[in-house]
């Protein structure tokens, strides 16, 4: 399988109030297309920092990050925005939906910035929402929906551009375990349909859905293993 992501000696250092925090160091990895990767580690171990770099939301302090063969450091802000828009779908722990607009409007938002025509947008967003089981909630606002339903909107929004990579940073962190399992099932389904998925989770049993498990400790890779299926 083709390589989608390659990291060479990635490090990320934050400086706050004169104190340096090494959020990540010596990260070397490759992720191929259609992989399903789970990332685990204690709180503060650098999982979100790594996900943000994967998602081109943030750039590493040192090292090389190739996404789809492109050196991310060489891209400007506009090009990074385009990659985020077209190649990556991000699912956050806190949903990050626009509170005042409907499920449909939230879902079509990435397509707005892609420059897709309104009618095409409507069609694709509706499809994506149906796909995540919200076909009957198109015009509800996030505040009118449950946590699980909100996360489904976020997943629909991540899917709607048919991205090369879906990133989910503790997607079940704000949900009860039953709803969490439903969301996990949905994400697994996405993987089975051919999507590349990287997911951060705390729960061992959730990680077991994945085919590969990367453990972080103090900003470094502690282990990186293929699960025994």
């Amino acid at each position: 399988m083709e390589t989608l992501i390659e990291m060479q000696d990635i490090a990320k250092t934050y400086t706050t109030g004169g104190v340096e925090v090494k959020a990540l160091s010596h990260i070397n990895l490759q992720i191929k297309k259609n992989e399903y990767v789970a990332i685990m580690g204690r709180s503060g171990s650098g999982k979100s920092t790594l996900m943000n770099i994967f998602g081109c939301l943030d750039t590493p302090t040192t090292g090389r990050y190739l996404f789809g063969g492109k050196d991310i450091q060489k891209l400007n802000d506009n090009q990074l925005s385009e990659i985020r828009n077209q190649k990556i779908g991000f699912v956050f722990q806190s949903f990050n939906l626009l509170p005042r607009v409907s499920a449909l409007k939230n879902t079509e938002l990435p397509l707005v910035y892609t420059g897709i025509s309104p009618s095409e947008r409507l069609k694709r967003a509706t499809e994506a929402l149906k796909h995540v089981g919200l076909g009957n909630r198109l015009h509800h606002k996030p505040s009118e929906l449950s946590g699980g339903q909100r996360q489904r909107i976020a997943i629909a929004r991540a899917l709607v551009t048919q991205p090369a990579l879906i990133l989910a940073d503790e997607p079940t962190g704000n949900l009860d375990s039953k709803t969490g399992e439903e969301i996990m099932a949905l994400i697994q389904e996405l993987h089975q349909q051919g999507n590349t998925v990287i997911m951060v989770t705390h729960e061992r049993y959730i990680a077991e859905h994945a085919a590969r498990l990367i453990r972080l400790k103090d900003g470094q890779i502690e282990s990186d293993e293929q699960a025994i299926v």
């Binding site: 985020r84 828009n85 991000f90 990050n96 938002l109 892609t114 420059g115 309104p118």
Partner: protein, 399 residues
């Protein structure tokens, strides 16, 4: 993201904070309303004054007798030193004086049937009408033949007509001027007041006034028409040298006559009015600037409140320019709406309060919209740049 979508989005966001949006709109509206109002009032007054100036007869100098000199002593009364011949002299002696009119005016009672009115009886020549730019509502001015024959005909000023007739045609009626019968042959259009009331007069041929009514052979004044207003200095020089020579004034003696510009009074008002209008415009512009600062303020608050939204939009692929346009559109719409309310509010105010449907110049309406939208855009630039340049991750994490 096209313009229409940006506008819709902006409206949604403005609607989300109705109180704040409307407060700032009121501020803008008052500002632009004030500006427009001042402009319109100013233009109206200017127009008014201009019309009056035109009616008064432009470029006319009025010469009246002053204190005369006898054996080097100044007389105690303004006396009898202007003559009809001198009026003709002035015209032949000067290149810039295109016409003169001799006048003799005195007080006198006029009567029609049982009504009596005390007014000014002015004897003059047919040229008076031309130089003063007078218009007749009815009838005609007296002619050269009537002047030569000392005819007993008269032309009424608007006020005199009002007092004696009130309505109905006065033409052909006989009125008494200083107890002598005169036939009314014309009625003048009202001119409006300047320093005196030109409408409170009755005009008769100069010969009649001098010979039959007042029994004098001098004048009480001469009107001299200049070629153009720029000829004032030359005309003044010609008048002074001609009259001083005629009156045999030696160098050390002051003029025994006075020269005034007819339009001087109004021209002064016009100047003052212009300055006043400019002053008020400055004040109004200040209120617009304050409105603009208000918009900038609202936008800054709005950016802070929506940091999370900015983060979300950026995370799913909005470029900086998208965020920039979004916020600038919003503040432009604030400015534009402010203008809209200001203009309609101003029109309604004018309609009901002043009661005059001001023909608000279309060009000013469009200027106002441009100004308002411009203020909105300028006010939005800084907040919008702040929004667009925010760090994506930090914005996403912002609580």
């Amino acid at each position: 993201m096209n313009l229409f979508e940006n506008m819709t989005l902006a409206f949604q966001n403005l609607k989300a904070n109705p109180l704040r949006s409307s407060l700032i709109l009121i501020g803008m509206a008052v500002g632009i309303g004030a500006v427009l109002h001042v402009v319109v009032l100013g233009e109206m007054t200017q127009k008014n004054i201009k019309e009056r100036l035109e009616k008064l007869g432009s470029n006319v100098l009025s010469i009246s007798p002053g204190f005369s000199w006898r054996h080097g002593q100044r007389s105690s009364t303004k006396t009898v030193n202007l003559t009809w011949d001198e009026a003709n002299d002035l015209m032949t002696q000067s290149n810039v004086i295109t016409g003169t009119v001799p006048l003799y005016s005195g007080g006198g009672d006029v009567a029609f049937l049982d009504k009596t009115w005390s007014t000014q009886v002015t004897g003059t020549t047919p040229n008076y009408k031309v130089i003063n730019n007078d218009h007749l509502i009815e009838g005609r001015f007296f002619n050269q033949g009537e002047l030569d024959q000392r005819a007993r005909v008269c032309v009424l000023g608007a006020t005199v007509y009002e007092k004696l007739f009130k309505n109905g045609s006065p033409i052909g009626k006989t009125i008494m001027i200083k107890s002598k019968p005169f036939q009314v042959i014309g009625l003048l259009e009202a001119k409006g007041e300047s320093w005196s009331n030109p409408d409170d007069q009755v005009f008769i041929p100069l010969t009649t006034a001098q010979g039959r009514i007042f029994g004098v052979d001098h004048l009480s004044g001469i009107l001299a028409q200049m070629r153009t207003a720029q000829d004032y200095n030359e005309a003044l020089f010609d008048i002074e040298s001609t009259l001083r020579r005629n009156h045999r004034l030696t160098d050390e003696l002051a003029n025994d006559f006075r020269v005034r510009r007819q339009d001087f009074f109004l021209a002064t008002i016009q100047e003052t009015n212009k300055e006043l209008a400019q002053f008020i415009i400055v004040i109004a512009l200040v209120s617009l600037v304050v409105g603009g600062i208000g918009i900038a303020n609202v936008m800054l608050i709005s950016v802070t409140e929506r940091i999370r939204e900015i983060g979300i939009r950026r995370a799913i692929g909005a470029k900086k320019i998208h965020i920039l346009i979004q916020f600038i559109t919003e503040s432009m719409i604030l400015g534009f709406l402010g203008g809209l309310f200001g203009i309609t509010g101003g029109l309604i105010f004018n309609h009901f309060y002043i009661g005059e449907d001001l023909s608000l110049p279309l060009q000013w309406i469009s200027y106002s919209f441009l100004i308002c939208a411009g203020i909105g855009i300028v006010a939005g630039i800084y907040p919008a740049f702040k929004a667009a340049n925010r760090n994506v991750i930090e914005s996403l994490r912002y609580e």
